[in-house]
């Protein structure tokens, strides 16, 4: 079944992410893809994540397909103008890629080419509209194309953004622009997430809650201090501390698994998105602990 069909079937969806690397030796990536094969409903391929230059998302999506994984092409507006974005979308379409995640993209100042010129010719809402246009056979200038695309387009949202109101306004605009599913920034507080979902449920979209596994109390503190829109509650930090250094990662995975179980059992959202960030091999372990395998 395709990712689109699974989403619409009402099944609890599981996606994870593969981060392309810098350089052409992709043995490890092949290995990760083999590990994930048959376990996920789709796999996101990040687009020069954190503005760090790596293999392009499009090529890695194609490789994921060769491994039998269904890719979600992440597309940011940071590095390409509207011509390049649409052109890459057509390219993705003819390669058989069916899903695209439209994002603004971290600013170049966050990455490893700080003197690059950031593009942002268009932004996430406008990119969603562009995808909708391509799906209907027209490009952004209104030109008719020879053959439309058939993408399932998604977007991102930060449920714990502070302040939250402007974020929610943008969420609404993304839905209006055609977003069919959302993958969220990492969440750690299920009660707060429920609040967000009460708002999100007013819209006809699927929401997959984002997870980043905590490896240690130190990492949790780092996220709290450095990553916008992420709030790890003190109780979880204490839990990781109590587990001690050796057991911290195990405990972090247990926390993620526990949260995923709760979301699924209480039907809080439509699925989860696990961002392993270099620990792709741990995704099946977490899924096992959460009862998803």
């Amino acid at each position: 079944m395709s990712f689109r069909d699974i989403l619409n079937s009402g099944k609890f969806v599981v996606t994870a992410e593969v981060g392309p690397q810098k350089g052409t030796d992709i043995k490890e990536m092949h290995h990760h893809m083999e590990l994930l094969k048959g376990k996920l409903d789709a796999v996101n391929v990040t687009d020069n994540q954190s503005a760090v230059m790596r293999i392009c998302s499009l090529a890695v999506c194609k490789i994921a397909m060769e491994h039998g994984l269904e890719p979600i092409l992440q597309m940011t507006c940071r590095d390409r103008n509207r011509i390049a974005l649409q052109s890459d979308l057509l390219g993705a379409s003819v390669l058989g890629i069916k899903n695209v995640l439209c994002m603004t993209g971290d600013h170049v100042t966050a990455g490893d080419h700080k003197s690059a010129k950031p593009v942002y010719d268009i932004e996430s809402v406008q990119l969603l509209k562009a995808v909708d246009g391509l799906n209907n056979g027209r490009d952004m200038s209104g030109n008719e194309m020879k053959g439309p695309t058939d993408f399932l387009q998604g977007a991102v949202v930060t449920p714990e953004a502070n302040p939250i109101e402007p974020q929610l306004i943008k969420f609404g605009k993304k839905v209006k622009a055609g977003a069919k599913f959302f993958q969220t920034q990492a969440i750690y507080d299920i009660d707060k997430f429920k609040e967000f979902m009460r708002h999100a449920r007013k819209f006809p979209v699927k929401v997959l809650a984002g997870f980043v596994v905590l490896k240690s109390a130190g990492m949790a503190n780092f996220l709290n201090n450095n990553v916008p829109g992420i709030r790890v509650p003190q109780s979880l930090i204490d839990e990781l501390k109590a587990a001690g250094k050796e057991k911290a990662l195990e405990t972090g995975m247990d926390i993620t698994a526990r949260h995923i179980r709760q979301l699924k059992e209480e039907k809080i959202c439509d699925g989860v998105h696990i961002m392993a960030i270099g620990m792709e091999d741990k995704v099946p372990v977490i899924m096992g602990k959460a009862g998803l395998l």
């Binding site: 940071r78 509207r82 603004t104 971290d106 600013h107 100042t109 966050a110 950031p118 942002y120 010719d121 268009i122 932004e123 996430s124 809402v125 406008q126 509209k129 952004m140 991102v156 949202v157 930060t158 953004a161 502070n162 302040p163 109101e165 402007p166 974020q167 306004i169 943008k170 609404g172 605009k173 209006k176 622009a177 920034q185 916008p228 829109g229």
Partner: protein
Amino acid sequence: MIISKKKDFRHLMDNIGRYNNFFLIGCSECASLCGTGGEPEIKELTEALKAQGKSVSGGFVAKTGCQVLGTKVELKKFKNEVDSADCILIMSCGAGTQAAVELYEDKAVYPTNDSLFLGNMTRFQMFDERCSLCGECIIDMTGGICPVTTCPKGLLNGPCGGCNDGNCEVSPDIKCAWVKIYERMKRLDRLQELCETTIEAKDWSKAQKPRNHYAKEEKKK
């Protein structure tokens, strides 16, 4: 106004080292307010050049250095000084420099400043960029605050995920443009409008370089 900043003096000397006799032109408008092209700066540069063994034939502060014809008229009375100089130094913005280039086709004309941006003066000689002259103003839809300029990504439909406790992901010293827009639209009771308007992709053909604008002809039309 156009914000300018003095070039590092050593760097300037590397550029103009091959010339010996200079004529200096400042500007009474933006450059004076920026402290880069008024009377005191002309004096200061004159002394600095002399200390380097150069001579200065004269100098003056143009009323509006980017106004080509007006500056041409003002320069008439400095004909001898300009003729005796082998290089003209322009102490205003890039537009002022190129006005002089147009007036003196056969003479070396060098800028002493770097031109930075169109800015608001918030306090004495403190400047902020609020408009980047995009060619089609959209701040009627954003409560009068420009996201094209004051959001580092120029986002037109709301904040990115990097907004951090109201500050911008690019620098904690900048308040997120979209939080400012949200707050202002809320104060003006225009939140409904903010939710309902999706601003279309900008038409960058309106900013195609080099731009020109003939107000007189437009008036006739």
